[in-house]
């Protein structure tokens, strides 16, 4: 076990990484990773970041065979200890524990590394791991800045290692089936003209995270790791610890709710519509959490020229209200609407009354759809016949996912490390999808429509 404090700060790393890359490339004996496809033995895995998202990822992978957990690091000692205990109790072997990612990467022989640190550390940690010869699974957003995200793509290209970004819906069978079979092949939506997505989160789920002070890192460590970045003046230990636990609230450490929650779903807009948007307009406010740096509620509209015509996509992220259907992405076409969510409970499919019923019945008979209910008019004395459209019939997907939502994405990553498949969301494709998201906050801040150019979106 090694709890020596780190020697290199994030700022140092960012300023020296190009030089570091040269040194790293010149030391192949240290950096050589196992050839993809070659190992029949276990994939040796390390973790950078052992917080809540690490737990989500770990719980999603514990039943995947052929993995040997080797090491974990986090600047919070208690978290590393918890990861150690979890692995020890479940697999009956210990792992090496570190506070410093660089030291872990230097000392351990790892095939794959999972990066689940705060957004502003994603790029430095992912690049470190790639340059150390590891294949990387990095949580989204790729970075808190588009430059950081681009630097991951550049490092992936330079090192030739794999880098999967944690847009886990890209590997979800429900999402893949819906796109390939229902939208592309059977074209059940007709022409998709509008998309609508949301993540409505209750106020109770949006509160500050607190923890026992005794288990939190000291001020000097937090400063060493850049948690004072962007702050005006000197911060107290309490303020630094608040930033450490609640980095999502600070503009220099994260992209805020549109990035934390919206990135997953705006990614689906781009993936399903098969295009990058050509513009974004947005509005946001600190309407409830007035002391937070990021907007607590954001609404935005993307305009697309898709292969099938013009379309618009509206997205909202609320941190003060959960009502309204939770979180989903809806694709509204001339013949049908697919409202899909990572939660099966929020997933619905609707057939427009004018769509070809025989075609939909045939899809049900073939097993591609399940019919849930015939459309029922709301009726009532206030209904004015000339205003009303005939109600749509309701359908469902024919099946679900019997694993945790992140499991297929991690399975895809491990299979790619073994050379068996291609990644479903490598860093370049992830950035194509993430790039427009980086411009939502600026559009809202400046009350302007941003018309995207190559400079905005290039990867």
């Amino acid at each position: 076990m090694n709890f020596e404090l780190p020697k290199l700060s994030r700022r140092d790393f960012l300023s020296k990484s190009t030089l570091g890359a040269g040194l790293v490339l010149g030391a192949p004996s240290i950096l050589k990773a196992k050839e993809a496809g070659a190992p029949a033995d276990d994939i040796r895995v390390g973790f950078i970041g052992c917080g809540k998202q690490h737990e989500v990822l770990f719980n999603a992978m514990v039943n995947i065979p052929g993995i040997r957990y080797v090491a974990a690091c986090d600047i919070m000692k208690a978290r590393v200890g918890r990861t150690y205990s979890t692995i020890k109790s479940r697999f009956d072997y210990g792992i090496q524990r570190y506070l410093d990612a660089r030291e872990m990467l230097e000392k351990e022989d790892l095939d794959a590394v999972f990066v689940a640190t705060p957004d502003f550390w994603h790029a430095p940690h992912a690049i470190m791991a790639l340059e150390a010869g590891c294949d990387v699974y990095c949580e989204k957003m790729m970075s808190n800045t588009i430059e950081g995200a681009r630097s991951i793509v550049e490092a992936m290209d330079r090192t030739g290692k794999l880098c999967q970004i944690g847009h886990q819906r890209r590997s979800n069978p429900r999402y893949r089936f819906t796109l390939d079979e229902l939208i592309h092949k059977e074209k059940i939506c007709g022409q998709i003209i509008n998309a609508n997505g949301q993540w409505n989160r209750a106020l109770s789920s949006s509160q500050d995270i607190v923890s026992k002070p005794s288990i939190l890192p000291k001020a000097d460590i937090l400063k060493e790791f850049g948690f004072d970045e962007g702050a005006d003046g000197k911060l107290t230990e309490e303020e630094l610890r608040h930033r450490f636990l609640n980095w999502r609230f600070y503009t220099s450490l994260s992209g805020g709710p549109i990035s934390d929650l919206g990135a997953h779903q705006i990614d689906i807009f781009n993936w399903y519509l098969g295009a990058q948007p050509k513009s974004v307009m947005a509005s946001g406010g600190r309407s409830f959490f007035k002391d937070r740096e990021h907007f607590d509620n954001v609404m935005c509209i993307f305009d697309y020229d898709t292969p099938h015509g013009n379309a618009r996509a509206f997205y909202q992220v609320l941190t003060t209200t959960s009502a309204g259907g939770g979180y989903y992405e809806s694709f509204m076409g001339t013949e049908g609407t697919i409202e899909i969510s990572e939660r099966e409970a929020y997933t619905n499919i609707y057939k427009e009354s004018g769509a070809d019923s025989a075609k939909w019945d045939k899809l049900v008979n073939r097993g591609l759809l399940k019919k849930e209910a015939a459309g029922q008019a709301a009726g009532g004395a206030d209904a004015i016949a000339s205003y009303e459209s005939a109600p749509p019939d309701k359908y469902a997907l024919p099946g679900g996912l019997s694993k945790q939502p992140h499991t297929p994405h991690i399975e895809n990553f491990y299979a790619a490390v073994r050379g068996e498949v291609a990644l479903t969301c490598d860093a370049r494709h992830a950035l194509e999808s993430e790039a427009p998201i980086y411009w939502v906050n600026p559009a809202a801040n400046n009350n302007e429509i941003i018309n995207f150019t190559e400079e905005h979106l290039h990867t």
Partner: protein, 174 residues
């Protein structure tokens, strides 16, 4: 006219039956709550067929069977465990210990109460367990749960008050 002796016997019978009911209720409550901590669900997945063949995407239909196993054990449910772990009044080692023993303790106390082994001490210890649970719920402001546990404590106290009418006990001492 009924003699006073017959009257006393009749009252004693009622109180004895009342005590048996309390023992049964409190025992069932404790034993099954303890057993449920070993409960889990075993999902049974079947592949979705499209055009009569297994789909290529991995879509499944899942049904779940309830099963009990030692490996399912969770003394303190995970959402509560996370909340308690951030409470300064609950040390980490204490929470771990509590998590480990809560299920077995409930089952043992339920069985001793059901069989009538040291009934009064069993009731007292059961009351302490419910008090400790109440303490945790006070910390995380679960008022409905606190009230519910308060009802348990009242039933334990009623059983203690009726202890002298306890029948069908293996070990009457204590």
């Amino acid at each position: 006219m009924m003699s006073s002796n017959e009257n006393t016997c009749s009252n004693d019978l009622g109180l004895s039956l009342g005590m048996i009911l309390l023992r049964l209720w409190l025992a069932a409550r404790a034993i099954q709550t303890g057993i449920e901590k070993f409960g889990g669900s075993k999902p049974i997945d079947s592949t979705v067929l499209i055009d009569g063949a297994p789909n290529a995407y991995g879509l499944t239909e899942t049904t779940a069977d309830k099963v009990y196993a030692l490996s399912n054990y969770n003394g303190v449910p995970a959402p509560l465990y996370d909340k308690f772990s951030n409470e300064p009044f609950i040390p980490g080692w204490g929470l771990n210990l509590y998590d480990t023993i809560l299920g077995p303790v409930l089952i043992i106390l339920g069985l001793t109460l059901l069989l009538g082994i040291a009934t009064r001490f069993s009731l007292f210890l059961m009351g302490l367990v419910y008090t400790s649970l109440t303490f945790g719920l006070i910390l995380i402001k679960q008022d409905a749960g606190i009230a519910w546990l308060g009802v348990h404590i009242i039933m334990v106290v009623m059983a203690l008050a009726l202890a002298k009418y306890n029948k069908f006990a293996i070990l009457k001492k204590w």
